[in-house]
């Protein structure tokens, strides 16, 4: 039971990292709080659902589609909302309210378009690629089904989601630490004004980071039907809270911290589920408050407390 909880926590932790990563990137670069993060995840979930039901597209090949669509949506959205917001007196505070309004708009439009019913995709769909890989290794046909890892059995969908999340985190690190654009992005993260004065096109860099941020939310949404249960237009708020818990534990604005936060959150969530299941839903909130009070800058962060 303990080993099961730890391993399941690790798998979920990687997935939670993916959920939080986009939010953290946006906060780190623009210092704005994207309260509509969970709603972009929800849209990703609906994308997976419709691609699967209309064209029988598996969520895995849907990843590049989501990346492209949401990058394309994110860039104009950035120029529409953010520069005006950053010119205001207290952008961080106003961004909460602005993106709250935006999340309401997304939720309302989704409800108008699709209704409030719950949608899901059979978990076997993510089992197929795993079975294909297993068949290749074993040299014989393996039926799709649960996967055994260190003597514990997990749904194949959990393994696939965790692997995709780990890959996405790795790619984000390459983007931030191994490309010129990432170098500029980190410069904007550290000091927006100085980046501007040293000739960096801050708006272009930020717009790309914003697009990547919401595309990451949408990609994690593709796996939401398997990891978070069925998808509904109203699920966004809860997801946003969870992603906040994850990135605050790690520390706001530090992508490396998100991995730590996601894994810690996933493991403690699974331990709560196993040992005090009726109190497990309380965990994200208490963890969030406790971390904010004891170490508001997160486990790997800089100073944020005032007065």
């Amino acid at each position: 039971m303990l080993i099961y909880s730890l391993l399941a926590g690790l798998l979920f932790g990687l997935y939670f990292t993916l959920i939080g990563l986009g939010l953290n990137l946006v906060f780190g670069v623009m210092r704005i709080v994207n309260l509509a993060h969970g709603d972009f995840l929800m849209l990703g979930g609906f994308l997976a659902f419709w691609l699967f039901n209309l064209f029988a597209v598996n969520p895995l090949p849907a990843i590049p589609i989501a990346l492209f669509l949401f990058m394309m949506a994110g860039l104009p959205l950035y120029y529409l909302l953010v520069p005006r917001l950053l010119a205001a007196r207290d952008p961080e505070m106003l961004s909460i309210i602005l993106f709250f309004g935006f999340s309401q708009v997304i939720e309302a439009l989704t409800t108008i378009a699709f209704g409030t019913s719950e949608r899901s995709i059979p978990g076997i769909e993510l089992g197929r690629p795993v079975a294909a890989v297993e068949s290749w290794f074993a040299g014989r046909k393996v039926a799709p089904g649960p996967v055994t890892l260190f003597g514990q059995t997990f749904p194949a969908a959990w393994i696939v989601s965790a692997i995709v999340s780990a890959l996405a985190v790795f790619l984000i690190f390459l983007y931030l630490y191994r490309t010129r654009l990432g170098y500029l992005t980190r410069a904007v993260m550290v000091q927006r004004e100085e980046a501007l004065s040293s000739g960096i096109n801050v708006h272009r860099v930020s717009a790309i980071a914003f697009g990547v941020g919401i595309a990451l939310a949408a990609i994690s949404g593709l796996f939401a039907p398997f990891m978070l249960g069925s998808i509904t237009p109203a699920m966004g708020v809860d997801v946003t809270i969870v992603s906040f818990a994850v990135i605050v534990i790690g520390s706001l604005g530090n992508p490396l911290g998100t991995v730590l936060g996601g894994v810690l959150y996933g493991i403690s969530y699974m331990l709560m589920q196993s040992y005090f299941s009726s109190w497990a839903n309380l965990l994200p909130y208490l963890l969030l408050i406790a971390i904010l009070l004891v170490r508001p800058s997160g486990l790997l962060g800089r100073q944020v407390r005032r007065a």
Binding site: I241, L282, R305
Partner: protein, 306 residues
């Protein structure tokens, strides 16, 4: 006549008077009661957000705590409603005291922590393990205390007291001090304001208002679920109403409630998603073009908004 009394005569008396007369002219008393509740909540948000600058995303936590504080006293101890009302307010203030460390956080961190706190209280109250005490997720049904007319009257009294408090904040050194803290806590401290004490007082006043509103709400409706009194729409509506009218004014939040809650009741009940769309868009437009609400628009036209 000092501004304080002028404002009291010009706003508090007409508003409370109108809400007192309306039940005789209009049949839907529950709707009028809800208007009073939202006026209370919008002014409560005004005290902590408008004057002090802390955006309480989990403001409903105090409302729900007040409702449960009231109901548990009635259910377990058979307390008379007026006494239970005091207990409800006290419970909210107690929660406020418990959450005072959150005020050390700034900006977004405070809002998110406050939201998490409200959701944590909801999780505790609705936990099936505590069914013997709070009835868990099955909700509360109060018997034998249903007196809608008296409850409405008490709500009006609370409204009058709340409005007077806001009028006082608008016209006093204390209110100025709070606004100074909002603008720049460090400079305010340098100017001799006890930053920590003043903002804790504002926080507790705000908690008390929501707690009393929650208690009287529980009294009036008598039957409710945890999700009813901890519903995030209470926080959200209250914040949007206050913001729409203009924070740090007496009139602004009242205007916000009358206009937006009025719209909500004409189109929002039958097609909630269209109302959600409209107020979502409204919030975005407000933040981008009119961050200080209707009041700032009136001020631009040269009208002084009390």
């Amino acid at each position: 006549m000092p501004r304080l009394w002028r404002h009291a005569l010009a706003i508090v008396v007409p508003v409370v008077g109108a809400m007192a007369v309306l039940p005789a002219l209009y049949g839907n008393h529950l709707l009028l009661f809800n208007f009073v509740v939202f006026m209370l909540l919008a002014q409560g948000v005004n005290v902590i957000y408008g004057f002090t600058g802390y955006l309480p995303f989990g403001y409903v936590g105090f409302f729900g705590t007040g409702a449960y504080g009231f109901s548990l006293m009635v259910v377990h101890l058979a307390t008379p409603p007026l006494l239970a009302l005091v207990a409800g307010g006290a419970a909210a203030v107690l929660l406020g005291l418990l959450l005072t460390p959150l005020l050390r956080l700034s900006g977004a961190y405070f809002s998110i922590a406050n939201l998490a706190a409200a959701l944590a209280v909801l999780q505790v109250v609705s936990n099936p393990d505590l069914q013997d005490i709070t009835k868990g997720p099955y909700g509360i049904a109060l018997n034998g205390i249903y007196q809608p007319t008296l409850a409405y009257g008490v709500a009006l009294a609370i409204l009058a007291a709340t409005l007077m408090t806001v009028v006082y904040l608008r016209n006093s050194r204390f209110g100025m001090a709070l606004q100074a803290i909002r603008e720049d806590p460090i400079s305010a401290g340098m100017a001799g304001i006890n930053v920590v004490r003043e903002r804790v007082i504002a926080w507790l006043i705000s908690a008390l208002i929501a707690g009393l509103a929650g208690s009287v709400f529980a009294w009036y409706v008598s039957v409710f679920y945890p999700e009813t009194v901890f519903g995030s729409e209470f926080s959200i509506f209250a914040i949007v109403f206050a913001l729409f009218g203009g924070p740090a004014t007496v009139l602004g939040p009242l205007l916000g409630v009358i206009i937006l809650y009025g719209i909500y009741n004409t189109i929002g009940i039958t097609t909630p998603q269209y109302f959600q769309l409209i107020y979502g868009l409204l919030i975005m437009v407000l933040v981008l073009f009119l961050p200080n609400g209707l009041a700032s628009l009136l001020r631009r036209w040269g009208i002084d908004v009390p």
